[in-house]
């Protein structure tokens, strides 16, 4: 039995269908993420789990019991909001104390927990300050400590890194993950940022337009997207459309040439079937143009972006298709260069159109 079970959850706002028959499970101690673009229903789902909204249909179970009739204060959850929502009229310490008092802790334990969790998010020295005196990142930490202090059954986070600068986001992202591991609390995280989802989660549920697209581990989602929405939304890739040319050897006919793929990828498909191909940037390399490699795409370099740890190179391979290559920064490539691209056919992701 999982800690959180959502079954057949459907939510209407008037005539608008926001969430359509969504089901998923998060196990105890697991870090789950609802990932999707704006308006996909992820926030609505989170708010409903928290008890801030009512489902139109379906059930929500926490620790095995149906919580539909429970108001938010009865559900023993911890929630971190998009805007921090720290109480401006209380000090940091009082903010954290609030939840502890509501959950009936004894005074001694309260003191203990406050120190423990303020320390965990490294904000203990500010305990007597008011949130208004803190920076955005510090406020965010307070809201995390506050939600964890009374050790709820589940931690809900609603895009908590919104509005923070990139460096801070990275920092906090790592910290949240570490804290979650240390505290071992079941977590449901909501975000539209697939990088965040991939780096933090044990399990990702991808949503689009209120419908579940895929549920799986980050690797499963990234390497084996189940449909083109997931393939497009998660991670970058070179995209090609084509038809299955031959099953043995496995190959797909595309406007830029015949692309060899892995045999496994074509399982269940027939010759002539329309498919979409995705190739991850790190699975593509620059081939020696004079070489006789049989699996090359080729073209002209459109753009080179130096990103510190690697370079992202965009190559025009013809027919309006742009290949994305992540390569070591020591490979010096310039805009306008003619290049040949090499890849392992087994890495090609093939999806029915």
């Amino acid at each position: 039995m999982g800690m959180l079970e959502v079954e057949d959850f459907t939510k209407y706002y008037g005539d608008l269908l926001a969430v359509d028959d969504l089901s998923f499970k998060i196990e105890e101690g697991e870090f789950g993420t609802l990932l999707g673009p704006s308006g996909c229903g992820k926030s609505t789902t989170l708010h409903t789990i928290a008890g801030l909204r009512e489902p139109s249909e379906g059930s929500i179970r926490l620790r095995g019991e149906d919580v539909i009739d429970q108001s938010p204060d009865e559900r023993n959850i911890g929630m971190v909001f998009q805007s921090s929502a720290t109480f401006p009229h209380m000090t940091v310490e009082e903010n954290v104390r609030y939840g502890l008092e509501m959950h009936g802790f004894e005074e001694e334990e309260i003191e203990q927990k406050i120190s423990k969790y303020l320390g965990l998010v490294q904000i203990d020295e500010y305990r007597d300050h008011k949130p208004g005196e803190l920076s955005g990142g510090q406020e965010r930490r307070v809201s995390i400590a506050r939600a964890l202090a009374y050790e709820p059954d589940i931690l809900l986070l609603d895009e908590p890194l919104t509005g923070l600068d990139r460096v801070l986001r990275q920092e906090l992202r790592n910290e949240i993950k570490q804290i979650q591991r240390e505290v071992d609390v079941t977590t449901l995280y909501v975000t539209h940022d697939q990088e965040e989802a991939l780096s933090m989660s044990d399990k990702i549920i991808v949503l689009d337009n209120g419908q579940k697209q895929q549920e799986g581990s980050p690797t499963e989602i990234y390497d084996g997207p189940s449909n083109s929405f997931v393939a497009n939304f998660v991670g970058k890739s070179t995209r090609l459309k084509g038809t299955v040319a031959t099953l043995d050897p496995p190959a797909v006919e595309t406007p830029v040439g015949t692309v060899p793929v892995g045999a496994v990828a074509l399982e269940g498909l027939e010759v002539g079937q329309r498919v979409e191909l995705f190739l991850r940037p790190e699975d593509v390399e620059f081939a020696d143009p004079a070489g006789t490699a049989t699996t090359t795409l080729g073209g002209t370099v459109n753009n080179v972006e130096y990103l510190g740890t690697f370079s992202e190179v965009l190559v025009d391979v013809g027919e309006g298709v742009e290949a994305i290559v992540h390569t070591s920064t020591s490979n010096v490539v310039d805009v306008g260069d003619e290049v040949a691209l090499d890849f392992d056919p087994a890495n090609v992701i093939v999806l029915e159109e």
Partner: protein, 279 residues
Amino acid sequence: MIIKGLPIPDVVKRYGSPRALVALGLGFLGVAYVVPILLLYWQSLNFGDGGLFIHYESALSGIYLQTLLRSFYYGILTTVVTLSLGYVLAYYIAFRAQREKFLLGLVVLPLWIAYVIRYLGIQLLLFESSPLVQLLGTDFGILFSTRGVIIGLTSVFLPFAILPIYHALNSIEDELISASRTLGAGQLRTIRSVIIPLSLSGIVAGGLIVFILATGSFLAPAILGSPGDTMIANVIQGAYSNFNVGLASSLAVIYTTLLLVVIMAFNSYVNIGRVLGEL
């Protein structure tokens, strides 16, 4: 139609500036308002025989002192009642109701109607010919009594309590309330620990305005009260109509000075100008 080709007159060029405009406005107010009030201060002093502060001695004795105290007392009563009723209604409109604009409009509507009309309405309600009195057989002695005055003051000044409180409640972020709930606080506890503290400025502002207006009311005691309910405004007018300018002036000075002290004291906490502006 564009107006052009207008050269700026030299006078305006030399002296025209925003500061000059302020001076104009304040100047007018000074000449038309401040000076007359200062004149009252002057007139309250007695330069004939009897001593300089003879009028003040009368003003601060016996019934006049009682009247002053009664005015403050009624002011406080009205403030308490309007804040209690007003807070609940403002809460309802801000958090529970659907058509906020309409409901607020209904609150503002009576403000456009002259006080004299509204007090008349209450008198009509409590008069022997009103349906209410006919139905109940009596008006419980409310008319021409203290209760009548307080009811009148409450009815007339309620909007001044509701609006600042509504404004403060409305500016509380939804997520703060959600946060309080997910942290384990029930509805009532959330109101106590989060909503009320954050709406405190609205409560103080509303209370202050109602207190100031109620204390200085002339019409409520005049129309709805008994002779034992007279307030400071009534005795000032009464003294004047008896040609006792000195007494009227001294009473006016005492009232004005006390009021200014109250205003200045609170001005540091809640800027009244801003609050009134928001109305």
